[in-house]
């Protein structure tokens, strides 16, 4: 039987692992797919090629399909999220100068204290905070707005958000173009290795279960190719499960490190996979709970409440009708297809497709089809709870 070719775009980051593993460990081949992975130099390039039909599917920032479907940004299109590829995995870092200033002002240097660290960052940084993020529509931006906004910063006026491609983040902070960055691994650790920045907070400390990247495709492609969609989702779900097994960590790091993928030393990649981050040069590694999750706790389930949270924030900033934006966003997160296509490979499904976001401080067993599902934690750092149906 001839394998069906699927052209899938990705940006070389640790969280592109489910696609790389699906290809390199033959999960895609076992589903009868010839999964072609096409590395992209920027999120715009990836978005354009997906929207214009040159790519069938893509590893993409979770807010991007929502923004595109809402008509925001340079190239709107109807794009859906088939499943979540990873939860969490970003780091926030500051220049050495700013870190020293924060310490002088009494910052403890603790990696997992978002309120204390945020207050010291705001107090030490001066009136304008120049922050580098990879893309305007990204979980990086959402987490920063949420974190600093809830600590009293006027995010519309006091934040100077600069778009910097991840591989250039270390340079941008070394050159003094930005004071702070929020970026996906391995690029935060690379800035640390180069001695130009110090990590001050993992994204997971702001929101303990933030959908980071999703597997996306155009809605018309999904409708025209149900069988290919199903096989692609199965292959990626199996790769994600493989990545969730700690025994596979070393091999995963080795595969990702290869020149055709991340082309970065495997010990740097392993920090994110193991959740053991080195905050500054020559410091000991720090264990970060749930730093980056590929599997477990329904990590791959495209919760419609996650989509609603993203849309609610985008609508607030971009001055859109909030309830309409939430409706559109919910329809982009294809919980329906996830149930239809993945029940057959024994993925345990949650009883509902929406939840209260932020309600779980500890892992909790919840109603599910097979009764084995444990969710959470998914709390926000300030203890707020987002109700997807009360936000409209």
């Amino acid at each position: 039987m001839r394998a069906h070719r699927i052209n899938c775009g990705y940006v070389p980051l640790v969280d592109s692992a489910p696609l790389i593993i699906a290809r390199e460990l033959n999960f895609a081949q076992e589903e009868g797919l010839d999964l072609q992975l096409l590395k992209q130099p920027s999120w715009s390039a990836l978005r354009d090629l997906l929207a214009l039909g040159h790519l069938d599917a893509a590893h993409i920032l979770s807010p991007l399909p929502i923004a595109m479907s809402l008509g925001l940004g340079g190239l709107p299109a109807q794009v859906d999220a088939l499943m979540v590829l990873s939860a969490n995995g970003n780091v926030i870092g500051v220049s050495n100068t700013l870190a020293d200033q924060m310490r002088e002002n009494g910052w403890s240097g603790d990696f997992l204290t978002p309120s204390e660290t945020g207050k010291h960052l705001i107090a030490s940084a001066g009136p304008d905070l120049r922050i580098g993020v990879p893309f305007p529509f990204s979980m990086h931006s959402e987490l920063l707005y949420y974190w600093l906004g809830h600590l009293g910063i006027d995010v519309g006026n006091q934040l100077d958000i600069r778009i910097v491609p991840p591989p250039q983040m270390a340079d941008a902070i070394a050159q003094g173009e930005i004071d702070v960055f929020c970026v996906g691994e391995p690029w935060g650790s690379i800035a640390v290795e180069q001695g130009v920045a110090e990590l001050i907070l993992p994204g997971a400390a702001i929101w303990a279960f933030a959908p980071e990247k999703v597997l996306a495709a155009r809605r018309d492609w999904i409708t025209t190719n149900p069988d290919l969609t199903r096989r692609l989702m199965r292959a990626v779900a199996r790769a994600a499960k493989w990545l969730g097994d700690h025994d596979n960590r070393m091999m995963a790091a080795e595969v990702l490190a290869r020149s055709e993928h991340l082309d970065v030393a495997d010990d740097i990649i392993d920090r994110a996979l193991a959740g053991r981050l080195i905050m500054r040069r020559r410091a000991f590694a720090q264990q970060v709970p749930h730093f980056l999750r590929f599997h477990g706790g329904a990590a791959n389930f495209p919760w419609r409440s996650q989509a609603a949270w993203i849309a609610s924030n985008l609508a607030g900033r971009m001055k859109l009708d909030r309830s309409q934006a939430i409706q559109i966003a919910k329809s982009c997160f294809r919980a329906d297809l996830y149930r239809d296509y993945l029940s057959e490979i024994s993925v345990d499904m949650p009883g509902a497709s929406e939840k209260l976001e932020g309600a779980l401080v500890h892992p909790e067993a919840v109603a599910s089809e097979r009764g084995e599902l444990i969710l959470g934690p998914d709390a926000f750092f300030d203890g707020q709870i987002f109700d997807p149906n009360a936000a409209g």
Binding site: S44, D48, G74, E260
Partner: protein, 194 residues
Amino acid sequence: MANPLRIVVVEPDAARAKEITDGLRDSGWPDIQVIGETNALARNLADLDPDLVLIDLANPSRDALETLSIASGAKQRPVAMFVDHSDDELTRAAIAAGLSAYVVDGLKKDRIKPVLETAIARFQMVSQMRAELDAAKAALSERKTIDRAKGLLMQARGLSEDEAYGLLRKTAMDQGRKLIDIAEALVTASDLLK
């Protein structure tokens, strides 16, 4: 006649930028500026206030342009990727040539199309030149590494050149990796063991 279009070409390579701007000037668009430095790209572009921005699809700094598409200030004009759904061939040709074009809101399509056609032709030319150069460089450096790896195997295990190459290839196939990766690993390991 309407004011001439103000065009900005974002291109760090000075020689490529010249090829592109020369082509556009020769075809009758005099108001062209080049941004070579991609630091602070969004702010520099906003200062120049162009009607049309031409940038390599593969330029990693492209994402900075996205900020312009959501610009909300009174002076700022929103910018969008130029996609002509009534002329898919033009869009396809632009992508194939590695060109992305951003236009300000409200600009008429018939004014953009001739610029784009000229730019596509120029981008095709410079992309092809660069691709040939890159391929030649990569092939040369790969061949050097593979030759070194073969040499190491011939010396250490008394193999012929063909046998050494065969062993590298078999190892690559068995491990599902590229020949050049195996060769590089061997060369690095041998350097470390010296």
